[in-house]
Structure formats: C-alpha cells, structure tokens
Amino acid sequence: MPIVNLWGKNFEIDKKMKNIYKPELASVTKVIEETEDIKTIRIKHDSNPKPGQFYEVSVMGIGEAPFGSASYSSEYVDLTIRAVGNLTNKLMNVKQGENLAVRGPYGNGFPMEKFKGKDIVIIGGGTGVAPVRTVIEYIEINREDYGEVDLFFGFRSPEEFLFKYDFDKWKEIFKFNITIDKPYEGWEGNVGFLNALLEKSEISPENKIVILVGPPIMIKVTVESLEKMGFSDDQIYVSLERMMQCGVGKCGHCMVGDKYVCKDGPVFCYETVKGMVD
C-alpha cells in the first residue's frame, strides 16, 4: 500500500497567492526636499489608498517601517519621511529612477463616506500634516460632498513647512490657518501653539468633524481645547502611532486592548481611543 495513493489529492499552494509580508518594487518618480531633514518620495503605485492609510516601506538589510500616504492618487503615492533613524536615514539617499520595496496600503483610513455632508476641520502638527494631506486631496476631488473646510497647520518654524507648494492652492479652496511655535525673523503670521489658534477661531462644533494628526502631546492639548469649544469626542478622529512590524494584524506588537492599531486603525474616533488602555 504505497503512501502516495493513500494521501489522495495533494494540496497545492496557489503560487499566485498574495504573500502579505512580501514587498513589491515600485519606482521612484520624484523626490522633493521639503525641509532639511524631510523629503517626499513619490513612487509609481496604482494602489489608490484611502485617506489615512499607510504603507510598509523596506530598505533591504535594514528593515521595514510604516509611513502614511501623503497623497490621494490612483497613479502614485507620496511618502513624506523625516530622517530620524536607521531606515529613514537610508531613505534620504533614495533617488529618482531607483526602486523602493513597498507593501500596502494598510489600515482603515478616515471614514470619508461617513463624513459626507459635514464641515471638516483638518488639524495637522509637524509631520502630521503629511497624512492629513491625503484627506485634503480627497476633498479637493470630492469637493461637493463636504461643507466648509478649515485647515489648521502648526510647525516649529517656517523652515519646517511641508507642502509649501500646495499652500496657494489650498488658500483658494479652503480656510487656511497656519502657525509657528516661536517668533521667526520675517514671519508675520500667527505665532503660538495650534490649540491656541484653534480656540481663537471660535469655530462652532455644529455639524463638524475634526481630523487631527500630530505628536501625542499635541493631540492631547488639542483635544482639550476642542472639548472646551464644545466638540464632543465622537466628532474627533485621530491617527495613532504604535510599535508596528507586520502592518497586517499578525505580529501583535501594536495591539492595545482588543484593537490592532495597524488593522483596526490607525484612524480611531477619539471616543474609542479613550477606552484603549494598556
């Protein structure tokens, strides 16, 4: 009784089955120097991310890290990256014409469908402006679906501005507010933290959704200000950061309570975030 006959039909793995851990090469079509240590790398990619989704970008030999998409396009993805560590330092050397190993998009993204008919307040601090740019570009394309749009950007100084080349366009379409942390020679605009500027604007919470991305401390104080202004937590949507490795809810690192930040997030309603305790 030969065993081969016993086994019956063999299982075969579909060779074309997607390997969720394997990146694909994507060509770099443009590199924009945003600031001294921040670059926007544009890759050719037809994955068409939802606003707020992210990609895992590899530098072979160093590893992989998640970066939020900074664009809303069916042809390319902009990845805005600050040189802060091993991987990002290497990414600063990437040139047009080279390939990047990328997988994604991952995560839930902002529920833009749900926000239809609402006024949108978009708040971004520092590199947090990158992921909200996807929301802005999405609204540009679907302008009639949304009401008034207020943009609030905060940067350390004018030298740190991201997407300066978009500012004029945005000023035309939206209410554009920007502030820098400390006085800067030649700067005549707002000085001070974002939340102060926000409070000064006296925006009413009625029919509004707030999209808020930035460092944890900025999120904390801004939410406090929003609450003071009468916003409730279910009007506020934030994008969270955690230790992430696989990006697809398998490796376990980003788990907080019963949520995987990579899979169930990174966008969460602030009401949910309050219940997410380690």
Binding site: I62, G85, N86
Partner: protein, 259 residues
C-alpha cells in the same frame, strides 16, 4: 567610501573571545574585505595607531595602566564595543573584588613582584568609559560578532533583544532546571546564547550578565523555593559579574529575606 578602520584590543582576559573571531573560517575573509583591520594583536603583526572607527575590546580593566589604555582607546574611537564577559561584566577575574587584595596579589604575582600597578579591582569597561555596544558571553558567540559588524557596516544601530535565557531554553524544549530540583541563573541572565548550557544539562552561570529588565526578588524567590542556599546563590552570581553593587544588592536581599 573608505573602509572603516577597526582595531581589536585586549585587556585582562584569556583572549578566548579573540580566538573565537579567528575561528570564523567561513566569513573572516569576507569581513576583512569590508573593513580595514589595523590592530589585532593575536591575528596581525602590523599595528597602527588611532583614530579608529570601531574599537573592539576584550578583557576587564584590572590593572592601573589598563585604566589609561581603555580611556585612550575610547578617545581615539568613534564606536567602542565590549567583547565578551570580561569586558561587559568584569569576567571571572572579578572574583578578586570580593577577596583580600594582598592575598590575591601574593597568589597571582608572588611576594617580590608586588607593585602599585596591580592595585585595582576587575571592572567592566563601562565602569571607566562609555561603551556603545556589548557582545556578550564567555566566550562570545562568533556569530554575534559578525552580526554586530554587519549592522554597523550597513548603517544600522545594533539593537539587543533583551530576554532572559529561559525564553531560549524553552525553544530547545528543555526541562527547566528548577523542575529538576537544580539551580540556575537563567531567570536573571541576559539571553542570546540559545540557552546552550541548560540545553546540555548544565545550569546557566550567568555569563551574559544580568538582564536589563530584571526582577531580582522574583528570581531569588525561585531559587530559595528550590532550596538553593544563600551561599550557592552568591557563589553563582559572583562567578561572572563585577558590576558595581550587583552582588552586594543580592547579598543584602538574601540577608534580609527580602524576596
């Protein structure tokens, strides 16, 4: 790009960890193709002065002139790596720290050769200078050496996985030494060795040094519950670590029954 200048140095030690480097038959030539090895006493005749991009130092600081030497190496080097248990934790010779100094000197050097030069305790490099990275173990695992060099060469800051020996002991499907009524320093000790001793039925003797995220009291409690005597615990701990106040702290916890 110029190849990085690397020097391998030794203080008080058995040179075993450097021999492990020479034992890297498979990859040694490939490594030498990537670095400019300018100083390696046991492997190379020519020695060049600093500066060095990377200095790798075996051995503990246990003589007065070695304090000057390690400080000089540190000054001349961008990156300093401690190689092996002597360099990371003082090594076996750190036992002299707990013995009568004169007895030690007499035993080691004889009555007539006592000089000021030996009047020091055995300390890890980090007692005197900043150490950037550790390659742990007595002896080191030569693959750790290759791994850390590869990471530095590719431009990545090496990161250690801080787990106790126990975790790797489980991968090897061993029976816990404590469940065999034995004694073991695994719970207190930094892993990375693939639990080579417990896997060969030898208790861990802590050569990779105490764990960063240590729960000392819990570790002592297990040993006491398994009827390991205070004296045995202290002897085990003392075998490999000359870290300031580590032994003393354990001694105190045991004395007060505080575990």
């Amino acid at each position: 790009m110029a190849k990085p200048r690397v020097g391998i140095f030794d203080l008080t030690s058995c040179d075993g960890c450097q021999v492990e480097i020479l034992n890297l038959e498979d990859s040694l030539l490939d490594i030498l193709g990537k670095i400019d090895l300018v100083n390696f006493r046991i492997g190379k005749e020519v020695k060049e002065e600093g500066p060095y991009d990377v200095a790798i130092v075996e051995g503990s600081v246990s003589k007065t002139d070695e304090i000057e030497r390690i400080k000089k190496i540190r000054d001349q080097s961008k990156i300093l790596i401690a190689l092996g248990a002597c360099a990371t934790h003082g090594g076996v010779q750190a036992n002299i720290n707990f013995m009568d100094e004169n007895e030690v000197k007499k035993a080691a050097y004889g009555e007539e050769r006592l000089t000021e030069n030996y009047d020091v305790k055995s300390k890890p490099l980090s007692h005197y200078v900043d150490v950037d990275f550790n390659i742990r173990g007595c002896p080191i695992d030569k693959h750790d050496f290759v791994d850390i060099l590869k990471q530095l060469l590719i431009g990545k800051i090496p990161k250690e996985k801080h787990n106790p020996v126990c975790m790797e002991c489980r991968y090897n499907e061993n029976v816990c030494q404590f469940q065999k009524k034995g004694k073991c320093l695994g719970p207190l000790t930094h892993g990375g060795c693939n639990a080579v001793c417990p896997s060969n039925n030898i208790a861990c003797d802590g050569c990779r040094g105490p764990l960063e995220d240590l729960n000392l009291k819990a570790g002592l409690r297990i040993m006491k519950e398994n009827n390991v005597s205070d004296k045995d615990i202290l002897n085990m701990v003392r075998k490999f670590t000359g870290i300031d106040n580590y032994y003393e702290k354990i001694e105190e916890l045991l004395k007060n029954g505080n575990y």
